[in-house]
Amino acid sequence: MSKAFVPTAAKPGVITANDLREGHNVWMCEDGWTPDLAQATLFEDEAIADLALLKAIGQSNIVVGPYLVEARRGPNGPEPTHFREAFRQRGPSNYFHGIQTLKHAEARNV
């Protein structure tokens, strides 16, 4: 879908993929990949984002199908702009499964 997305300062983006071994969704962050979109690197520059995407594609032993997608700057980090990405960073709506359980566990540890 949004694979041809070009980030700008007005419309920044993140790089996301699936974890090769486990399958869950991950986002590129400063020191690798995170299952928490809020920790992801926000790209505002096309050239820098393209370079990062090439790096992601080169990590095919870690992640599958990396792509750039629009995200907005939120108070706690990047947030999804499209509902598909919102589901990807939350999990399904019929059960409390997927990434939302990780966040729940983290919140309880605080």
């Binding site: 699936n18 090769l20 071994r21 486990e22 399958g23 869950h24 969704n25 095919s60 032993n61 599958v64 199908g65 702009t81 499209h82 509902f83 598909r84 589901f87 990807r88 999990g91 399904p92 709506s93 019929n94 059960y95 499964h97 997927g98 990434i99």
Partner: protein
């Protein structure tokens, strides 16, 4: 050429071992994802929205208690305690880790199961009537032919890279519960001049270009089944389009070339290929007919059943909706719906799977079926055992009396799981089911097929719903189109789009207006929604969906 595989579990184990090595090479970097993807798809492994998904074949929906227990074990060990029945009589697990899938396939192989050809451009699971071998309106059990087709199509060297996926359905009953007209090839067992054969349909399918199939052969003698089916698929394999994925299904080939041209090519191919079949297929069919011989039915009274019906209203209500007429006196087929109001259509927990396995062994001649409408059928239960079966199901929350009613909705996984989806399906199904239970209208509305898909690929069969719902992405918001008048069974029909779509929060109110309008206009309680729609046309129903503003 056809060859019967005597010990298929060896082959399945071998394939599982191959896949284990392929996963190993992917993880150590020897295989790129582009190289690995077709290999994993050949073994039913998809990468979905949140996780990998493993689709396991349940040939023509027939599964043994031991196999069902294996699915329960996999659900608990490698998934989140449940599995999902699909509209092609298979099961999907939504959360396996890639690194665990080789172990899952090994364990499946131990009970003769696998995930071969549950994906890819190959011949997929051959589907049939969930009541095959049991239905009162069936004159011949289609499963021996389904098994012949399964056995022949598994790993068929010529058909591993078809232009697109290929789906075959077969029925032997008066009422078509296999959706013959909506398949690439549909087969209806018929008799002509005392001979058994098939009415052969070709070129049906849903998806972005829904079409009903056409009859390519009025009567195909049963001994020519494989040669003729092979001729159809070989013809399609050469003339089907490979330039455009969206025009690659056989329905487009038949539509663009014309049935007459396509049929002439098939008949020529058939004449050539027929000579290559030397009778092994007919010998195999004889073996399969023995394998699917009817169980030793009991001759017993049904007084206990009648007595329970008289005194237990909930049991009576369940038997009114969830039984299907059996060909043997004193027996019934039990429909166990996985459509509890507010739950996810087609999701079964490990405990529920084990209960079904136990009930099948204790009361059901060890036979279980997965139905295309995401329910499970115990095809052979003596009526005197129904009170006990009902009590056990009720205790497990599986005795919802709603088979064929408003809440018995087919819904694809939608954007809660599927990477192709454009909107969610499951929450829409949950809300509709809850709504019509809460307002008490479900029984009054009676028989109704609601079908929901989360994208135009139509896995939820929305085109065949009396009411179809199609979820789309309209400018970044979920939006639902409603189609009316579809039918998969009695008079196959593709539903017609009623008008502009609705945002998700307006779908339930729209369906409510639609069904209240139906209750107002129907001739009497025996006239189903689809019958009223056919009698009156779309106008009164569109008016209910799109009421005039009060101040125009």
């Amino acid at each position: 050429m056809f060859d019967v595989r005597p010990v298929e579990t060896d082959y399945v184990r071998h394939r599982a071992a191959q896949f284990r090595a392929q996963v190993g090479r992917r993880l150590d970097g020897s295989l790129t994802e582009d190289e690995f993807r077709p290999l994993r798809l050949m073994n039913g492994v998809y990468l979905q929205l949140h996780a990998y998904m493993l689709r396991i074949a349940i040939p023509y929906g027939t599964i043994s208690p031991d196999q069902m227990r294996m699915l329960a074990h996999l659900a608990e060990t490698y998934d989140k305690g449940y599995g999902h029945w699909t509209t092609r009589q298979n099961i999907q697990f939504n959360w396996p880790r890639l690194v665990d899938i080789p172990d899952m396939l090994d364990q499946l192989a131990s009970v003769g199961m696998h995930a071969i050809q549950t994906s890819g451009n190959t011949i997929r699971n051959v589907t049939t009537d969930a009541f095959a071998g049991a239905a009162a309106d069936e004159w011949m059990d289609p499963r021996p032919y389904a098994e012949l087709l399964r056995s022949w199509s598994t790993d068929h060297a010529e058909f591993q890279f078809l232009p697109r996926k290929f789906k075959i359905a077969i029925t032997g009953a008066a009422r078509d519960r296999a959706l013959v007209a909506a398949h690439d090839i549909g087969l209806r067992l018929i008799q002509q001049d005392g001979r058994t054969g098939f009415e052969v349909w070709v070129g049906g399918g849903l998806g972005r270009t829904p079409m009903l199939g056409k009859v390519i052969r009025d009567f195909l003698p049963e001994e020519d089944l494989l040669a003729y089916i092979e001729a159809i698929i070989a013809t399609y394999n050469l003339s089907g389009r490979r330039d455009n994925k969206y025009k690659a299904r056989i329905k487009i080939t038949v539509h663009e070339r014309g049935l007459d041209v396509f049929k002439a090519e098939v008949e020529e191919e058939f004449a050539n290929r027929r000579r290559d079949f030397h009778g092994a297929d007919r010998e195999a069919l004889a073996i399969f007919k023995d394998r699917f011989a009817a169980p030793a039915f009991r001759n017993a009274g049904t007084e206990a059943y009648e007595a329970e019906r008289a005194k237990n209203g909930a049991f009576r209500s369940w038997t009114d909706t969830n039984l299907h007429a059996h060909k043997v006196d004193g027996y019934a087929s039990v429909i166990v719906t996985f459509k509890t109001h507010g739950e996810t259509p087609g999701d079964a927990s490990a405990d529920q799977m084990r209960l079904l396995a136990d009930l099948a062994e204790q009361y059901g001649h060890a036979d279980l079926r997965i139905s295309h409408d995401q329910n499970v059928v115990l095809p052979h239960v003596h009526k005197s055992d129904l009170p006990a079966v009902y009590a056990a199901l009720h205790k497990a929350g599986l005795a919802t009396a709603n088979a064929g009613l408003t809440s018995d909705i087919i819904a694809c996984p939608g954007m809660d799981y599927c990477t192709l989806a454009t909107a969610r399906s499951i929450p829409v199904a949950q809300e509709i089911a809850k709504h019509f239970k809460d307002n008490g209208l479900e029984d009054e509305i009676g028989k109704l097929n609601i079908r929901i898909s989360g994208c135009i690929n139509a896995c939820g069969h929305h085109h065949l719903g009396h009411i179809g719902i199609l979820g789309l992405d309209r400018a970044g918001v979920e939006n639902y189109q409603i189609t009316l008048g579809g039918d998969g069974y009695d008079i196959p029909a593709i539903g017609e789009r009623a008008g502009a779509g609705f945002p998700i929060e307006e779908v339930v109110p729209a369906i409510d207006r639609l069904l209240r309008a139906y209750l107002d206009v129907r001739a009497d309680a025996s006239e189903r929604f689809i019958d009223a729609y056919r009698r009156l046309g779309a106008a009164p129903f569109k008016a209910a969906l799109y009421p005039e503003p009060a101040h125009a």
